[in-house]
């Protein structure tokens, strides 16, 4: 076989890195050579993450990030809005997308063979958590025959079973099988413009000395203090908090624990949720002693 290259796009906590490692293990179980590695900026739940895998019959030397994948794996649809996800997809390559939509309804930015699966629903149903990596792995086996579903299931048993116990291994392996069965095949749309993210990449002469960023605007984007206000982390999560004012005793535990600072205290003591920044972690609902906060799924599968 020629070298088969895969690029995963996910969010911190979805298991993109583990998915890449598992697909590599599945290939190794079949006697092939494989390589899998991650790339991310901040180690932060919800932040965009990439992972890469290569599979070949021969020793794999190339350690560069995969820029022209044979398979593209999109573990979170919302990434299509903010990242040039489909950039470089090889001609004849395929995409695997976590979505409740049919492939023909998904606008990837390139017309390509596509497999869609509602991996979030499968994960919530079978694993009780929106960790979609094992479901996605099942859909990958459906999309292309570079590794067998059985090898993927074995690799899941090895990796997850060893880490989380045999029962977790079995559950995750069944999630992969369910995703394989429920995957829909088709062709995705290519209407969206694949644009590079608006990143500020200064030359060394333009890099502020002293690792200090003043509050300023570069190429239409804020950098330095306050720039995080442009990072709408609200697109990251699978659910939003629903707040019931009448049950709230104003203890403000939710305000204290919110990692994104999107809960504000009003003058009357009631709380206001700025969901533009809520990444759906659900910590507020967990700490609420009065069940005044409930997490509700958003998006197409809600």
């Amino acid at each position: 076989m020629n070298m088969y290259e895969i690029r995963f796009h996910g969010r911190g906590g979805q298991g993109a890195v583990m998915a890449a490692q598992t697909i590599a293990e599945a290939a190794i179980l079949e006697g092939k050579q494989a390589q899998a590695f991650p790339f991310f900026g901040a180690e932060r739940r919800g932040a965009p993450v990439m992972a890469f895998a290569r599979i070949d019959d021969k020793r794999i030397c190339d350690r560069t990030q995969v820029s022209e994948p044979d398979m593209l794996v999109v573990m979170d649809e919302s990434l299509l809005e903010i990242e040039p996800v489909a950039a470089g997809l090889k001609k004849g390559g395929c995409a695997v997308v976590n979505s409740a939509l049919a492939p023909s309804e998904i606008d990837l930015g390139v017309v390509a063979r596509c497999v869609s699966v509602d991996a979030t629903s499968i994960a919530l149903e079978m694993l009780k958590a929106p960790i979609v990596n094992t479901s996605i792995l099942g859909a990958m086996a459906r999309a292309d025959d570079f590794v067998k579903l059985e090898s993927i299931q074995q690799a899941i048993m090895n990796r997850f079973g060893e880490k989380l116990g045999e029962k977790a291994g079995r559950l995750n392996s069944s999630a992969a099988k369910a995703a394989f069965d429920r995957s829909r095949e088709g062709t995705c749309k290519g209407e969206r413009k694949i644009q590079r993210k608006n990143a500020w990449l200064p030359t060394w002469q333009e890099t502020p000395p002293g690792v200090a960023l003043p509050r300023t605007t570069k190429a239409g984007m804020a950098v330095g203090p306050g720039s995080m206000s442009q990072n709408l982390t609200g697109s990251w999560g699978v659910s939003n908090p629903i707040y019931d004012d009448s049950k709230c005793i104003k203890c403000q535990r939710c305000w204290f624990i919110c990692p994104e600072g999107c809960i504000r205290r009003s003058d009357d003591g009631a709380l206001r949720f700025d969901i533009r920044y809520c990444k759906g972690c659900g910590l507020c609902a967990k700490v609420c002693p009065k069940d005044a906060i409930a997490m509700k799924r958003k998006g197409a599968s809600a």
């Binding site: 890449a20 490692q21 590599a24 390589q35 790339f39 350690r63």
Partner: protein, 391 residues
């Protein structure tokens, strides 16, 4: 029985450690090393490794405990990265002079402001003067194999020095690859129980690490400098023995790739060697006579081996993944020392700083500088590749 596993560089290190049966493992976690110590904790918990696992309150303490443990004559292991290695710095100078063959796995991560977690060698390169042997691995298999070789080299009565095995943060530490895990019995026969040179024992009292006056210090330092040189043949010998026992050979202090008739050559270190191999293959298929030298050891430094390997090249480049500020990359400085008076033009090529992706094209760019250098053109002593903005 030998088994094949899908392991990250970190997991490969942990498997290697388990097979070597160290008895004391003082440790302190730090990204990107933490997985090593977690995996070892699992092995101990599961009864696969019988060792004292001591969570320390800092890396300084972890190294201090390792020194104490090793001085009692037991095989000792610890692991760290970046800021953790910097915090160990003071204690790192003890094991070489006291002759304690501790194994330290350092997962390279950039040091200082900017707080990067990705690979750069400024952490371990800063410790090259401390008297530790220092090797850099290219892939997960080499990590596992070098853990085993490291103890064998370090504990050899002709050496008895501590060993620092370095692996690239994330690009190796977090990369899954196919790894053959040797059988425990094979490793046991390759690496017999540690027989210490000196040992603290209440039944036969002795002092180790005594304070000395200027009347003795100079001789101690000279002895250490000689000792490091003595390790050179042992490293090659252990590699041969390892090849016989396990079927894999790494070349000792350096390895070469397509150097037979090479006119230009690049010296690489760590995982960069892998991608550079692809660049060499592509350039060779275009008819260019290029080759690679993989630097495996920074200490002892392979001065003679490099001289021999580049005898017929017209230009030599050195890849550096760290910078000694205003003093070139540390590998370049050493290589230029090795080749002083040889007349071969040598250039420094700094790239991949802070974990920046090293592309096949990056290495081809280095070879094109070497082409110019070989044809007698004046080129910069040091080029930064992948830098935004004119140099």
């Amino acid at each position: 029985m030998r088994s094949v596993k899908a392991l990250t560089g970190n997991a490969a290190a942990a498997y290697g450690v388990m097979l070597c049966r160290p008895e004391v493992i003082p440790n302190y976690p730090i990204t990107p090393q933490t997985i090593i110590i977690e995996q070892i904790a699992d092995f101990i918990n599961d009864g696969e490794l019988d060792a004292d696992f001591i969570p320390a309150d800092s890396e300084h303490s972890a190294m201090s405990m390792a020194i104490g443990a090793s001085a009692t004559g037991v095989r000792t292991f610890t692991t760290t990265a970046s800021q953790g290695l910097a915090l160990m710095h003071e204690m790192l100078y003890v094991p070489p002079q006291v002759r304690l063959p501790i194994l330290l796995v350092n997962v390279n991560r950039s040091l200082g402001a900017g707080s990067g977690i990705w690979v750069e060698y400024n952490d371990s390169m800063a410790e090259r003067d401390s008297g530790w042997m220092q090797a850099y691995a290219e892939d997960s298999q080499e990590v596992l194999d070098m853990v085993i070789q490291a103890y064998r080299i370090a504990e050899d009565p002709r050496v008895v020095l501590p060993f620092m095995l370095c692996l690239d943060g994330f690009i190796l530490s977090h990369t899954v690859e196919r790894v053959e895990v040797p059988d425990q019995e094979e490793v046991d026969s390759f690496l017999p129980k540690f027989k210490p040179l000196n040992r603290l024992d209440p039944k036969d009292p002795m002092s180790i690490n005594i304070a000395v006056s200027p009347a003795h210090s100079m001789e101690m330092r000279y002895q250490l400098d000689r000792q490091m040189a003595n390790a050179r043949p042992v490293i090659s010998e252990v590699d041969d023995l390892f090849a016989k026992a396990f079927g894999r050979r790494y070349g000792g202090l350096i390895d070469t790739y397509r150097m037979e008739d090479a006119e230009t050559a690049l010296i690489t270190i760590g995982t960069a060697t892998s991608t550079a191999r692809v660049a060499v293959d592509e350039l060779r298929s275009e008819g260019k006579k290029v080759g690679l030298i993989k630097l495996r050891f920074m200490r002892p430094f392979p001065h003679e081996e490099i001289r021999k390997a580049v005898k017929n090249v017209k230009a030599l480049g050195v890849f550096d993944r760290s910078i000694s500020v205003n003093g070139f990359g540390p590998v370049f400085t050493e290589v230029r020392n090795s080749l002083y008076g040889s007349g071969i033009p040598i250039t420094d090529h700094i790239a991949g700083i802070g974990g920046r992706d090293l592309k096949v094209a990056t290495f081809k760019e280095m070879f094109s500088v070497l082409d110019q250098s070989a044809s007698g053109k004046k080129v910069r002593d040091c080029t930064w590749h992948g830098l935004r903005g004119e140099m």
